[in-house]
Amino acid sequence: MAFGTLATAPSALSGEAFLELRGVGKSFGVGAARTEVLSDIDLALAEGEFLAIVGFSGSGKSTLINLIAGLLMPDVGELRLQGRPITGPGPDRGVVFQSYALLPWLTVLGNVQLAVDAVFRSESKQDRVHRARHYVELVGLGAAHWKYPRELSGGMRQRVSVARGLAMDPKLLLLDEPLSALDALTRGSLQSEIERIWAADRKTVVMITNDVDEALLLADRIIPLRPGPRASLGPSFAVPLARPRDRKAVNDDPEYKRIRNEITHYLTVVSRQAAAANPTRRLKKPVAKPASLRPPSMSLVP
């Protein structure tokens, strides 16, 4: 069975790509304990594209996001944003972390304001306050802007984190499993929220997730990250479904079913290959039977 197309479209490699990764590899540890986490990552992303990278836990998903964010440097290969090499973190890339990363002594507005003040230094104080308020309202926290993180639910905290990421008006938004710490219901409503916000200004987005359905609801393109160590990107699956995508309506869409089955099949196959590469013993079944521990309590059989 053939899967999708190549992760990198040839035209994108000719220098027009918005974000480009070439031969990127990253290892951690020293000496014999050194492990190659990511290996030979090639990726090209067009401007305005929403890309989801679906990966197994421990496969190096966060390492990949940290490399794009400039929080980590690759051992080999290069990363370019709009043609310029990524050499460190910068306000052109907004990151939304799985753990929210809010400052506990600042309010909702304070957390967003901090980022706005750092990025828009040349703007007047009034403009900056206006900007921060706008994004707090955009994520539906206008009425709770004065609250502290400890007074918020997980879903609300993640909204603050999304507002902060957007308020910096970055060229590229990096979402590192933004919803995986939330329960299914909150997750569903924040998913629609992210789609709505994304549709409003079509930022270029790279989202890391472990949930195929989440990727199918949000992304234009899905690329699996194969299980580590030495994780590399799998084939690219285009998601040409109309937006906005409704969780229940897509269930009847033949295109949705086809892509969902293809990706699930691909992930099942690579997961089995990874398990087969690390075989564990399977022992012989002992014959002993459990003792009957308790006397019959209320036998219904006369």
Binding site: V54, G55, F56, S57, G58, S180, D183, A184, L185, N210, D211, V212, D213, R247, K248, N251, D252, K257, R260, N261, T264, H265, L267, T268, S271, A275, T280, R281, R282, L283, K284, K285, P286, A288, K289, P290, A291, L293, R294, P296, S297, M298, S299, L300, V301
Partner: protein, 263 residues
């Protein structure tokens, strides 16, 4: 009455200052020997309460639970339970955690045989190389594998699974569903599983029981799962009825959610 497990007019009523509150009311269900039944419903609908009453961990307010022609009146090793949090003792290795129950259920065999039972079941869940690790050294998925081994090692009459993969990410969840199906098919133990994941229910179960939202939760509808066994995920997904059945379950959950909000 011919079920291996029978729940008859099962109710759970809590006393509150404003009077008795029936969380579950008149829950009736029969499960045949060797059948795998999934119980789905919204969080807080009382599905875990039903499972805990069958496990003997929660008192039965009204009604009866009968397993293999004997009425249940408390917890016992004839029912292997797998919880959402694996509940392993942190100072014990995987092997010692599984041994804890095995020692109680196999008092009549020698220590060597007991060790074999423990090691066999840990090898079944793919942990042959991690038997001497403590929970802290294991990933979430591996801990839940120990939880499965611990339940299966008791050779119980039936298996009770309370959202066993609810805390795992969706790809690890898929891996563990296959591990569970793999060991379950060894001797097709009667199983009752609580979940809110419709794909999980369809992949594992013979029947999916949809529970109405509490209070007064009961059996709403029952869906027969038409997929043969052994099951292969790709084949299940390609089954012509798969997405229709999935849609039915999603629609039921959404209608229950609307009713809860309206109430």
């Amino acid at each position: 009455m011919s079920g291996y497990l029978e729940m008859f007019k099962l109710s759970k009523i809590y006393e509150t200052p404003s009077g008795p509150l029936p969380v579950v009311e008149s829950f009736d269900l029969e499960v045949a020997k060797g059948e795998f039944v999934a119980l789905i419903g919204h969080s807080g609908c009382g599905k875990s309460t039903v499972l805990q009453m069958v496990a003997g961990l929660s008192d039965i307010s009204e009604g009866h639970v009968v397993l293999d022609a004997r009425e249940i009146d408390g917890p016992g090793p004839d029912r292997g339970v797998v919880f959402q949090a694996p509940c392993l003792l942190p100072w014990m290795t995987a092997r010692e955690n599984v041994m804890l129950g095995v020692r109680r259920v196999y008092p009549h065999v020698d220590e060597k045989t007991r060790r074999e039972i423990v090691e066999y079941h840990l090898s079944l869940v793919g942990l042959a190389n991690a038997m001497d690790k403590r929970p802290a050294a294991l990933s979430g998925g591996m801990r839940q594998r120990v939880g499965l081994a611990r339940a299966f090692a008791l050779s119980p009459k039936m298996l009770l699974l309370d959202e066993p993969f609810g805390m795992l990410d969706s790809l690890t969840r898929m891996e563990l569903q296959e591990v569970l199906l793999d060991i379950w098919s060894e001797d097709q133990m009667t199983a009752l599983m609580v979940t809110h994941d419709v794909d999980e229910a369809l992949f594992l179960a013979d029947r999916v029981v949809m529970m109405t939202s509490g209070p007064r939760a009961r059996v709403g509808r029952i869906l027969e799962v038409p997929f043969g066994r052994p099951r292969e995920r790709s084949e299940v997904l390609e089954h012509p009825d798969y997405y229709a059945l999935r849609g039915e379950l999603i629609a039921f959950l959404e209608s229950q959610q609307r009713e809860t909000r309206a109430a």
